[in-house]
């Protein structure tokens, strides 16, 4: 059963067409890899899916609902969570706070509870903190102990983990990972792959779309891959087939090399 169905999605800025009639689908529990050179429209796809960009044409159906016209926060509440290519954590806030924000949409206490029924609020916050600890511990057992530190004080890889935890905290149905290995060295990338494996095991029903430049990562985490170039989908299928696709080779390696 298909969780996400994108048909003919087109996004343009002024005269520039960033996404041109793209069709993409993801099944429940599936991990889809997205590859393509810089500026090929991968991140634009994410921005359109999460409601940051408005689509010029096409439709996005998610869990049986049409997303067109919904605001970003409403889409997030329907169960689409994401990370960003360059981290968008609030560096001055604690790691826990950064994760808790992912849970706020599901909160059960309101403003009046915060002021007048403090016990109820603190109980809920306690549960939330516990769940945040649990999420952090999935990736790194030492992280929960640093949960009350400002996230800016954590090393790069742990920040990325906090960002993934923030996305998972909302109990999404679909997780969008935008180049999780960006700016990482090979060891860190290996750790990240292990982290993604953990996500897969812990949340088998979760669908994931991952944008990656690192083919090694893509091959390791996703069975099905789509390739983009100039805002169009140029190939789709198993990793090996897409990687061998002439248009994909051309897009990545340049015309001359591809012909050779």
């Amino acid at each position: 059963m298909s969780l996400l169905e994108v048909k003919g999605l087109t996004v343009s800025f002024g005269g520039l067409v960033a996404l041109d009639a793209v069709d993409v689908g993801v099944d429940a529990g599936e991990t889809l890899g997205v590859i393509g050179p810089n500026g090929s429209g991968k991140t634009t796809l994410f921005n359109a899916l999460t409601g940051l960009y408005a689509a010029a044409a096409g439709e996005i159906r998610f869990a049986g609902r049409e997303l067109a016209g919904l605001e970003a926060h409403a889409i997030a509440r329907l169960g689409i969570a994401r990370t960003f290519q360059s981290s968008r954590l609030c560096l001055a806030l604690s790691a826990f706070d950064n994760i808790l924000i992912g849970m706020q949409a599901g909160r059960r206490t309101g403003l009046l509870d915060s002021v007048f029924r403090r016990g109820k609020l603190l109980a809920e916050m306690g549960e939330a903190l516990e769940r945040a600890s649990h999420l952090l511990a999935l990736f790194n057992r030492d992280l929960p102990a640093r949960g009350f530190e400002r996230v800016g004080q954590l090393p790069q890889i742990d920040r990325r983990r906090v960002e993934i935890c923030r996305a998972l905290a909302s109990r999404p149905k679909l997780l969008l990972l935008d180049e999780p290995s960006a700016g990482m060295n090979p060891e860190e990338t290996a750790e990240l792959m292990r982290d993604l494996q953990i996500v897969r095991e812990e949340m088998p029903g979760l669908s994931v779309i991952v944008i990656e430049h690192d083919m090694f990562v893509i091959e390791g985490v996703s069975r099905r891959v789509v390739a983009f170039n100039y805002g169009r989908k140029i190939a789709e299928g198993p990793f090996a087939a897409v990687a061998a696709h002439p248009e994909v080779r051309e897009a990545y390696l340049g015309r001359e090399t591809a012909r050779a």
Binding site: F13, N47, Y53, F84
Partner: protein
């Protein structure tokens, strides 16, 4: 409906005011261009320019230089030098050190620096709390054209104001420093790689913008025959408003914005009951509408939010 002559008269007065506003707004827009900051004490530098000009005129009078033809240019030069240096100092103290923190920090710091300048004039200028009479040095009298009174004094103010604007245009478009300013405004890093000295360019920009504020300050003194230490608050807010409705970063936008604000004020004064009291309410309301519905301004480029 007021008669056409009245409207024309008000439009002329609006252009008069607008020239002064435009000179302030050009500073705001230049600073925003090179450093992406709002230098909020700029209004008080305008006020400082007026006081420096007045002091220079009084000093020259005491020294026996009485003729307007000599005293006025000297006063302009002195005031421009003073505000230029103060502007550069303000940039070095309040703007550059905060360049790496959030832009709001600069806004708060320069807002406070403006307070410091204002209070300094209030406290340290002799009897600073009182409005100061400004000598009338421009030719008096005037002619009437089709029911519209044109005073020579106003013509002189217009001429000086437009001369200053043309000078800015020449400096920015025809000189090496102007080229550097434009390059930094477009892309500071690329400009630096092309061999532009960033610090010197920023200093030059602040000197230029602040010197223009001094021209506006003296013109304001000549126009109202009076200056007051609080004139910088309104001057600053109007200058910033003009730069914003013109499109921050665009020098011609600032000029258009300044003229528009002036005309808006005077026509509002003519068209609505008790207009002279409420004209600024109308003008600021229009500014608010602009910021909400056309935040890029009249001549500004539309910026795309990057994710």
């Amino acid at each position: 409906m007021p008669p056409l002559e009245l409207l024309l008269q008000q439009a002329l007065n609006g252009v008069m005011l607008g020239v002064m506003y435009a000179l302030i707004a050009v500073g705001f827009t230049l600073f925003f261009g090179v450093l992406d900051v709002i230098h909020f004490s700029h209004g008080d530098i305008f006020m400082l320019g007026a006081f420096a000009g007045l002091s220079a005129l009084l000093g020259l009078k005491a020294a026996g230089v009485a003729g307007a033809a000599l005293a006025l240019p000297l006063a302009f030069a002195a005031a421009m030098l003073v505000t230029g240096l103060v502007g550069v100092a303000a940039e070095r103290v309040c703007v550059k050190p905060l360049a790496r923190s959030s832009p709001l920090m600069t806004l708060l710091a320069t807002l406070s620096l403006g307070l410091v300048l204002r209070e300094s004039v209030l406290i340290f200028y002799p009897r600073g709390a009182d409005p100061k009479p400004f000598p009338q040095l421009l030719p008096q009298g005037g002619v009437e054209v089709g029911g519209v009174a044109i005073r020579y004094e106003n013509l002189a103010i217009l001429a000086i104001g437009f001369a200053a604007m043309i000078a800015v245009d020449r400096i920015i478009n025809r000189t090496r420093m102007g080229a550097a300013i434009r390059a930094v405004a477009q892309d500071p890093e690329a400009a630096q790689m092309m061999g532009v000295n960033l610090d010197r360019t920023v200093d030059a920009t602040f000197f230029l913008g602040s010197a223009l504020a001094a021209v506006a300050g003296i013109l304001s003194g000549l126009y109202y025959s009076e200056i007051h230490f609080i004139m910088g608050i309104t001057g600053g807010v109007i200058g910033f408003s003009a730069a914003a409705i013109g499109g921050l970063g665009n020098v011609y936008g600032a000029i258009v914005g300044g003229l528009l604000f002036g005309v808006l004020q005077t026509t509002a004064a003519a068209l609505i009951p008790r207009g002279s009291e409420f004209r600024d309410v109308v003008a600021f309301a229009v500014v608010m509408l602009f910021l909400v519905f056309k935040p890029s301004g009249i001549l500004g480029e539309k910026s795309v939010e990057r994710v």
